[in-house]
């Protein structure tokens, strides 16, 4: 009798009523794990330097977050993995042969200036890792664009320097790029598996796609931003990317090269810095793609993914304001213009 009374008890509580096991820490560490394939490929192609650069980034990020939160007398949140993720993403966005102070400065800018000063995780307007990288690129342009030829086996520090596929495409054209890799299939293959020059974690499309599949399967990211980002890049590359007039461009090279895969799946989808409404996310993705291609085809830099995401980060609050769904049953306010 008494047990039955208990099961029918009416529980009154405030929302949320449906609870789940998900937490910030769980999502962040899953994203870290999803980046593991790309990290392994980076180590495979760029050797111990990949480990060294990434470890420095992660260590500085976590340490500076810890020290700052201690100093501001706030709760320490380094165990939720977000500082770790920022460090990992920044490391994957750096060229292999950077001197030790570059990861240190980049991580400090990313964590302290872009995140902690804005009030910590959840309040930052910009993606911390990308601001870190943009800061480094503009401060040390020479060091940040010194790319190394990937070598499948561990070699010493005297690896050959070379240009990235996008750099070759911009400076010397498609013919030169095809010649560099043998034939067109060779270009696709190296871009897909990652045996090209570039930032540590961005070269291998297959490894990043495996990571993205994990995130999509776990529903930590939705298709809206990555799909609209990639689709707009592909369409614009196809229409305007060719030398022989409209509709002659090669979308596959543009899709696979540069930081597009890393940016579209791991950085543009950052919960904090993208719009929260689905319609806004599609606008956000299309904007990212359009700016990326604008910079790649017409701009002063060979690669535009980083700037595109940062620019759209500026616009994210504005997009969110303007796509607010109407309240059910609300009557549109009539504006009287005089």
């Amino acid at each position: 009798m008494s047990t039955e009374a208990k099961t029918h008890q009416l529980v009154v509580s405030v929302s949320p009523h449906v609870r789940d096991e998900e937490s910030i820490a769980r999502i962040m560490w899953t994203v870290n794990i999803a980046l593991l394939p790309a990290f392994i490929m980076a180590v495979y192609y760029f050797g111990p330097r990949a480990v060294y650069v990434t470890a420095l980034c992660i260590a500085t990020s976590v340490l500076s977050e810890y020290l700052f939160q201690r100093w501001l007398k706030k709760k320490t949140t380094i165990s939720d993995g977000s500082a770790f993720l920022t460090g990992l993403l920044l490391g994957m966005n750096l060229p292999p042969g950077v001197p030790f102070y570059i990861p240190l400065v980049g991580s400090f800018v990313a964590i302290v200036i872009t995140k902690t000063l804005f009030g910590g995780l959840g309040y930052n307007i910009f993606n911390p890792a990308l601001i870190g990288r943009a800061f480094l690129l503009l401060t040390w342009p020479k060091l940040m664009t010194k790319w190394y030829e990937p070598t499948a086996l561990f070699v010493g520090l005297d690896a050959k320097t070379t240009a990235t596929p996008l750099g070759i495409l911009k400076e010397e054209g498609l013919a030169k790029l095809v010649e560099h890799f043998g034939d067109k299939a060779g270009v696709y293959k190296s871009l897909f598996f990652g045996s090209t020059a570039g930032s540590l974690g961005e070269t291998s499309a297959i490894a990043l796609l495996i990571g993205a599949a994990i995130l999509l399967y776990k529903r930590y990211i939705t298709w809206h931003i990555p799909f609209s980002f990639l689709a707009s890049v592909a369409v614009i590359a196809w229409i305007f990317g060719g030398k022989g007039g409209l509709f002659t461009g090669d979308p596959v090279i543009h899709l696979l090269s540069g930081g597009l895969m890393l940016g579209a799946f791991f950085m543009a989808t950052d919960y904090v810095t993208c719009p929260t409404i689905r319609k806004g996310q599609i606008i956000f993705g299309i904007g990212c793609g359009a700016v990326t291609m604008l910079i790649r085809l017409k701009g002063g830099f060979p690669e535009g993914v980083m700037f595109a995401i940062l620019l759209m980060n500026c616009f994210a609050p504005l997009i969110d304001r303007n796509v607010k769904p109407e309240q059910f049953g609300a009557v549109k306010k009539k504006e009287d213009k005089k």
Binding site: F118, I131, I295, K298
Partner: protein, 195 residues
């Protein structure tokens, strides 16, 4: 007529060489009125209108009075005078003709008089030797660029209203940091159009 050049001027002045984010001019108004979206929008409209008209006026004065009299070395002082006179008369006329508009936009007019972008645009126009239409295009582009900067900034600052920003950084300091970070993002446009 070269429409391509005019279009390039508008894009270059509004995005690539955005006055706020690449030349860091006009920051007093930029930080002063970007706290609320409503004031930011009002300021943007007033600002763009004043910018276009004052660049047209100063172009006429520069070309037909100052160049023939050979007094171009006085252009800073003359342009300040033209802008101040125009803004003040607009202010007075609006007060008489349309009080409702005056109460909406009048407070911004007083601020605009001494704004450095408003002075920079006629100076650049005369320095580069732009034609009348080019000067107008440059004025429109600069106005739109400033409007864009204001609206972005206002949307970000409204979003940060409830953020847990460390006490020493609340208000103006964090706004300077935001402006710096947006400027970092805007460098992506550099090299897009070379005039």
């Amino acid at each position: 007529m070269d429409f391509n050049k005019l279009f390039q001027l508008i894009v270059a002045a509004s995005l690539i060489n955005n006055f706020v984010f690449t030349r860091f001019l006009g920051l007093c108004i930029f930080f002063g009125v970007s706290k609320k979206m409503e004031t930011a929008v009002g300021m943007s409209i007033t600002f763009t209108a004043v910018m276009v008209i004052s660049s047209a006026l100063s172009w006429v004065v520069f070309k037909y009075i100052m160049v023939p009299l050979d007094i171009t070395f006085l252009k800073i002082i003359v342009f300040i005078g033209i802008i101040a006179a125009f803004v003040q008369s607009a202010d007075t006329i609006m007060k008489k003709m349309s009080p409702s508009l005056y109460y909406k936009l009048g407070i911004y007019l007083a601020l605009i008089t001494t704004n450095c972008i408003i002075l920079a645009v006629p100076l650049i126009n005369s320095g580069e030797g732009y034609s009348f239409l080019e000067s107008m295009a440059f004025g429109v582009g600069s106005g739109l660029g400033f409007a864009l900067a204001l609206v972005i900034m206002a949307s970000i600052r409204e979003k940060l209203e409830l953020a847990d920003i460390p006490a020493p950084f609340r208000g103006l300091p964090i706004s300077f940091i935001i402006a710096g970070l947006i400027a970092l993002a805007f460098t992506g446009f550099s090299g897009l159009i070379t005039l």
